[in-house]
Structures are given as C-alpha cells and as structure tokens.
C-alpha cells in the first residue's frame, strides 16, 4: 500500500496512527468548546470502542475539515509524527467484517500492529450522524 506520513495518537488507551494529510490542525483542548453550526467535536475513543471504559482524559483535538462542517476528534494525546511509515493492508478476513470502513490498514511498530484510521471517513460519519441536529459538543 506504500508509505505515508502518519501521526501516532492515543485514544481509548490504545495506539493508533492517522494520516497526517487528514488532519488540518492539531490543537490543545480548551476547557469548553462553544456549540457551533460549523464545528462538531467528538471524543474518538468511544467512537472506536463504544463498550470500553472511557475516562475524561482527552487533551488534544485533531481537526478534520469537511465541505460543510469541521470536525474536531478528541484524543488523549498526540505522540509523534512518523514521516514515512509502511502501510499494510488489513487481512480481508477482518476488513470485510468491520462495522464501518474506518481502518485504512496497519503499521507494524516494533512488534505491534497498530491500526491506521481513516480520519476523514470517521469525521464524515460523525457529521452525517449529526446532520439532523446542530453541530456542537
């Protein structure tokens, strides 16, 4: 699948990579985000693992710009930038069974496979789910 620049983040207590190209801005989380029709903020951890226990440890926001809305996906922290990571495809056995197409592939970091998230797709799905209500926290 080739190489790409990836940002390593921690959400729901786990490691993930996201494509740098999907992120318009990295921000420290403010104490409160005022509701807005153009900014939608969601914690990434509960989106990825709805049944897991989630604390309120989100400290940073990854901003994804969509045509009609900007989505801020909140993560516990941003770890580092990997400028040229070798992206591998997810095995078809598992790729076909995902509830949503939110995983682009896998990067093996050390000996650990780390999922690479399709942040644009996640943001688009968040925006779609919120389409009937005003954007906001």
């Amino acid at each position: 699948m080739g190489t790409m620049a990836l940002i390593e983040v921690r959400a729901a207590g786990r490691r993930y990579f996201v494509p740098q190209a999907h992120v318009a801005q990295l921000e420290l989380l403010r104490a409160s985000v005022p509701p807005s029709r153009t900014l939608l903020a969601r914690a990434l951890g509960p989106l990825l693992h709805p049944t897991a226990d989630h604390g309120s440890g989100d400290r940073q926001a990854l901003t994804v710009v969509l045509p009609d809305c900007t989505v801020a996906l909140l993560v516990e922290r941003v770890e580092r930038l990997e400028e040229s990571a070798d992206l591998r495809p997810l095995a078809p056995l598992i790729a076909r069974r995902l509830a949503a197409p939110w995983v682009l592939g896998v990067v093996v970091a050390g000996d650990e496979p780390v999922p690479v998230l399709d942040l644009r797709q996640i943001a688009a799905d968040v925006a779609r789910a919120a389409a009937t209500q005003p954007c906001g926290v």
């Binding site: 989106l47 990825l48 095995a91 056995l93 598992i94 076909r96 496979p113």
Partner: protein, 189 residues
C-alpha cells in the same frame, strides 16, 4: 513432537514424526477430513489407515482437532491489538515474523463460552484456504494421528464447522474444518 521455547511452541509445518509414523503431506487435511467424513467413504476412497495428524486443542473444556497440515506454529498467548468495529469472534490482530494475522476466537466461532486468557492459552498460527490466521484456543493438548475408520460424522448441531468426530483416550474430539470456520467468519453467519 511439540517443541517449547521461552516464548513460543513450534510445530513443524509439513512432515514430522508422530506416533503412527510420518504425516502424509500429500493432501490438504481439510480436504482429507471432508473425504473421510464417514468410514464407508474412507473405505471406498482407499484413504490410508494411518490418517492425517491433528493438533488437539482444548476449547471450553472440550477437545477439538485442528488439521496438522494447516498448523504453522503454536504461540504463547499475547493480547491481540483490537481493530475498531471488528466482531467479537475477531478480537484483534497480531504481528508474527512481520506478517499481520487476524486472530479468530475459535470458542466463539463454535458457539462455546469464552473465558479470559490464562497461562495455558495459546494462539495457533494456521494457513487454510489461502488465508493466514491465528486461532485463539484455551490450551494445546497433543498431536495425534487418527485412523480413518475411527472417524464418524459430526453431530447435526455442530456439523457446520466440524469435518468429523473421533475419540482420544476415551474423550470425544471434534475435528475442525478450517475452511468452514473461515467461511463462517468471513460471512458473519
């Protein structure tokens, strides 16, 4: 037959000595199980009396056999990396020798209760139907060769994922059809 090291247990991939002699590596075992689904069929096909070997694993207290020709390695338990949105039967992925493998919880695939991992828990790396995967099992028990004439059709309730049933030291053993497992996991049936 099973080699233990500090971090993994190895099973040789193709031909290895066993109680009844050498494993016959001429046929994929999943196909072999299908062929010898009944003793009568085994007799008509002339399948050799010293039949393929199986890796015996324990799932929810029951013994099951995995086709020996499909087994590549047996690993000590390590927690797989969960993939968002994957069903419980696929608890995650692991990297082994640089290859990313999906982990299949065989207990859930067979509709058996699952318990948390402990010191006996193993991951069995296997290859079947052009798919590499790691199978989550409660324990690995033995490698055995089974006679074709001792195999019987599986009970109707669990026939979908079993190629046959046999007995090992008096206990029933369900012989798992890995091709069927992969199909069921892929289709989410």
């Amino acid at each position: 037959m099973i080699q233990e090291s500090s971090h993994l247990v190895l099973v040789r991939p193709t031909v290895y000595p066993a109680r009844g002699g050498l494993l016959r590596a001429c046929c994929p075992l999943t196909a072999a199980v299908a062929m010898i689904n009944t003793p009568a069929l085994a007799a008509t096909t002339g399948w050799p009396a010293a039949t393929p070997e199986f890796l015996l694993v324990r799932l929810a207290g029951e013994l099951y056999g995995l086709p020996g020709s499909a087994v590549r390695e047996v690993l000590r338990w390590r927690a797989p990396t969960p993939v968002p949105g994957a069903p419980p039967v696929i608890p995650g992925i692991i990297s082994q020798h640089g290859v990313v493998l999906p982990v299949i919880d065989l207990r859930l695939a067979l509709g058996l209760p699952a318990t948390p991992p402990d010191r006996s828990t193993r991951l069995v790396v296997a290859h079947a139907s052009e798919v590499d995967l790691a199978l989550y099992v409660d324990a690995v028990a033995d490698i055995v060769a089974l006679d074709a004439e001792e195999l019987a059709p599986p009970p109707s309730g669990r026939a979908r994922l079993l190629g046959a049933v046999a007995r090992y030291e008096g206990a029933p053993v369900g012989l798992i059809d890995l091709t069927a497992v992969i199909t069921v996991v892929q289709e989410g049936a």
